[in-house]
Symmetry: C2
Subunit: 430 residues, 2 copies
């Protein structure tokens, strides 16, 4: 899809490039801004959203009406909907960002070399952060706030279903920035260019410094496959809990239940339970009873079925269950002969997000935490702790399951890069 845009650009590619260049220029004013300036802007953005809530709610109502007319599912309509309370919550998140330390300017490493050269590696903003996401207008504010605090401009693609909401939010945020003497071009959208805008955003290598997709697996995989701009991938969590022969059963039961049921639609929820044969007789009946009470459907092997209490919703596990991220009150359960068999199963089906071991034997813990390869390896605690807030990292952009740049919960620092600053006194290389 190519179109003549209002400003006379002859193609979407040119229009997106123009937006990205304006974003880069705007980002320069932030790169050298003090933390005080950025925090004041975050507070101004929060205040403006609250003050202009009626305008945003009215725009959102148009999106909702179009969604209902188009037969959008209730759960999606719920994600799309904004009211005064939700807007207040979104504004509070901006104020919490203001309370976090500034990642920019942190000296990551530094030294004076034997020849007297002074080195320091300093955190600096990326420049222009691209974000592609689905119809959740809160992400628009979230992305703008995270980018601003880390010194970056943001170029957004929020999806047509939330177009009016996002347009209103971006206008409100732009006014707030302008009121603080900062350029409106710090927060821009390519949504006016439809799907072609998203495509050109992915192709804008050299103009956009990093692209962060947020949403379902399909969206993320499309961006990973098609983007020429470097991507930070947030991903799927097919998380396992392994209960070792040495496990403390009284401790392991609540860990499994918490990992599965504390919240289900999230990437750090457990999806498969592996139980060592030696502990199965004491552990399985207890955990299955408690899971049943919590409303969990168990997809188990024959030995799990044999231990299942009457009334438990049980289905025979197929090969597909081991690979499934249910994101619901379902759990695959398998009895294994050994730690080795558990490690082998996890290696085969892990998505590299979070793996949990319940064990008291240090040798089992040592093998689990050194022989597996995942963003987080958790010992005797719930899988739900793989979370930026829970691990004390502050605001979370997402949880990376890739190995480059960031792995696991990503905070503000992951939206920065570094520069080496080298100071000499006429030093020459010989």
């Amino acid at each position: 899809m190519t179109q003549i845009t209002a400003d006379g650009a002859t193609s979407v590619a040119e229009a997106v490039a123009t937006l990205a260049r304006a974003a880069k220029t705007a980002s320069r004013s932030l790169a050298t801004a003090t933390r005080a300036t950025k925090d004041a802007a975050l507070h101004a953005m929060a205040d403006a959203l609250v003050a202009e809530a009626p305008r945003v709610v009215a725009a959102n109502a148009e999106d909702l009406e179009r969604g209902r007319a188009g037969g959008m599912a209730e759960s999606l309509l719920d994600r799309l909907e904004l009211d005064k309370e939700r807007i207040a919550g979104i504004a509070d998140a901006l104020r919490e960002l203001a309370a976090l330390p500034d990642p920019v300017g942190e000296v990551v490493r530094g030294s004076t070399l034997p020849n007297g050269l002074r080195l320091r590696q300093v955190r600096v903003p990326m420049g222009v952060v691209g974000m592609i996401y689905e119809a959740r207008p809160n992400v628009t504010v979230d992305a703008a706030g995270l980018a601003l605090k880390s010194g970056n401009a943001v170029l957004l693609r929020g999806g047509s279903a939330a177009a009016r909401s996002n347009e209103a939010i971006i206008a409100v945020l732009g006014d707030a920035l302008a009121g603080q003497g900062l350029p409106r071009e710090l927060v821009q959208s390519v949504d006016a260019h439809g799907r072609a805008g998203a495509v050109e955003l992915m192709r804008a290598r050299g103009l956009v410094d990093v692209l962060v997709p947020r949403g379902g697996a399909d969206l993320i995989q499309t961006v990973v496959r098609e983007s020429l701009v470097p991507v930070i991938e947030t991903g799927v969590g097919n998380c396992h809990v392994y209960v070792d022969a040495s496990a403390d059963v009284a401790q392991a039961v609540p860990i499994v239940v918490n990992s599965k049921t504390q919240r289900t639609g999230v990437c750090n929820a457990a999806e498969t339970l592996l139980v060592h044969r030696d502990v199965a007789p004491s552990f399985l009946p207890a955990v299955l009873a408690t899971l049943g009470e919590a409303g969990v459907t168990v997809h188990g092997d024959d030995e799990t079925r044999a231990a299942a209490p009457s009334g438990l919703r049980f289905e025979a596990a197929t090969e597909a269950d081991w690979a499934t991220e249910y994101l619901s009150l379902d759990l695959a359960v398998k009895v294994v002969d050994s730690l080795d068999q558990a490690l082998e199963h996890i290696r085969r089906f892990s998505s590299g997000h979070t793996e949990v071991i319940c064990a008291t034997d240090t040798r089992a813990v040592r093998r689990f935490t050194t022989e597996l390869d995942a963003a987080a390896l958790i010992v005797n605690a719930s899988s739900r702790f793989t979370d930026g807030g829970q691990l004390g990292l502050g605001a979370e952009i997402g949880i990376s399951t890739q190995k480059l740049h960031a792995r696991g919960p990503m905070g503000l620092a992951e939206l920065t890069t570094t520069t080496w600053i080298v100071e000499g006194d006429g030093h020459l290389r010989t």
Copy 2:
């Protein structure tokens, strides 16, 4: 190009996937290996290369003969050629790697949370590192050594011109690994599958963890554009030296000459000199005379021409000169009105590698080092210091001009990722 391979795989994609899976399995034995084991393997590899030098030289002679018959340029033949002395040098580089600290196991961050959870973020190997490079068989050894020290298996694509040399080297390294009880599959090549092997290596997302292209700009750009595997880009250096009004002229002249001439065919050599108008009358004649003596051709603006001593090789600069990475004894020279104009010029033409300022005014230094965006910003020293060895990082994989994962000289740590290890005592999320 699809072919039936000897082992019965029905396509190159399957064959490369099989190699990558074998590499992943092999890498597991390294992930938990001690530094002592890895260093012993590096020494064994070095000793084997020296002992088997005649075999490698004989294979190399076949490549050279084929190259000569095909009309390969002398400079490329020189890069391709291996003799006993060069092999000894390559082996020494492996021994130097053995002397470096092990990046694996380093605790990057760690803390105990208020709730008692113990956190540590630990460096772990990537797994399988892919490397695509041109006809320099020393890179084969280099890549194998860097990967091994950082706990990774390597899957190589070395180019057909060096096929026999690389085959011999990989066989020798494999024997050395096997002699140490390590799997041969730690060092493998896709060269048997020709160009299709390179294509499938770039497509092996999920099987290959990171791809490092090494070579000319065309090779690197092709890999960046086509790879689905995350790439660490090593890049072009269109490096500037800016001589401020406040520069110490006696210090600035040798810095410019060293930045341009200490070595020319490298990414951290200076390509453009920007001179503040106020210092031009004293600085330009001095630097042009010295550059002329060093055999440099100056591509300058009118004011530079006016200051050029007779006998200097001078050409009028065109717009293209500002964008050119000469990699030769050529230097673009321009007089600017102000620091602002210098910053603007650099922003426009910089490749984000290294920018140098010669200045004594702290305000100028402060603006240069905070308003520009490059991997290295150097004050009063030669651009040639942007180098892993010079900055004390040990072995260098390349110099990254990308912003994700690594920026500037990359050492062994950049071939690792991290894992969060979280230890609790039955901790649940509430």
